[in-house]
């Protein structure tokens, strides 16, 4: 199951969607808004996406993960719009009979999501400036922002 939403991510609901008496292992990853990036303070974030393609890419990620690992449940939720500090921007939850598959799938999903899904983050810095984050552009930018 995949979801793009402007509302806060409902983590208990995400977990409930993957839990099952067939699955002995659940792995959840949450990406949350950090206060400090490469020494600079963030006040808030905005996420924009290309909705139709982002949904398609997220659905492809779920399909690929289910093909690579034996998963019982797989949920990917990405927040869009305005986020305050500490809020979750992304949740990835997978369940499996075996914990190795759950960890491997969860890590692969978030790693690959960050590489291929057309979603962009704008840092609204505490000093009042705002920057779209495009890893590698401009070429002389701080490299730490994409982690």
């Amino acid at each position: 199951m995949i979801l793009l939403t402007e509302r806060p991510i409902d983590v208990p609901e995400v977990l409930a969607a993957v839990q099952s008496s067939q699955a002995g292992a659940v792995v959840l990853f949450l990406g949350t808004t950090r206060e400090e990036t490469a020494g600079r303070l963030t006040a808030s974030l905005d996420y924009e996406c290309y909705p139709r393609m982002a949904e398609q890419k997220l659905a492809e990620l779920e399909d690929e993960a289910r093909a690579k690992w034996s998963l019982t449940g797989c949920v990917i939720v990405h927040r869009t719009g305005h986020l305050e500090l500490g809020e979750a921007s992304v949740a990835v939850a997978v369940s499996s009979a075996h914990r190795k598959a759950a960890f491997a799938a969860g890590q692969w999903l978030i790693d690959t999501l960050k590489q291929v899904v057309p979603i962009w983050k704008r840092e609204n810095w505490a000093d009042g400036q705002s920057d779209w984050i495009h890893p590698g552009f401009p070429p002389d930018a701080e490299p730490a922002v994409a982690e």
Partner: protein, 81 residues
Amino acid sequence: MQIEVKLFALARDLAGRKSLEFDLPPPVTVADLRRAIAYSTPALAPLLAHMVLAVDQQYATDQTQLSEGCEVACIPPVSGG
């Protein structure tokens, strides 16, 4: 051939608009469209080299052929997650 190109994030800010419209004689490849974008919107040129174009929600190469009514978008380096 009428082609609309969606813009996002910094690409939209640099161009000052959400999309670009072109009318190009077929056949048109992604490489042709890139040249048209760079020519029509010089403000996008530095970022354009770092962008991938998507055709019908799939990442395309310079050789990808565009067809009538396809959906095209400029995808700057992504930063979701």
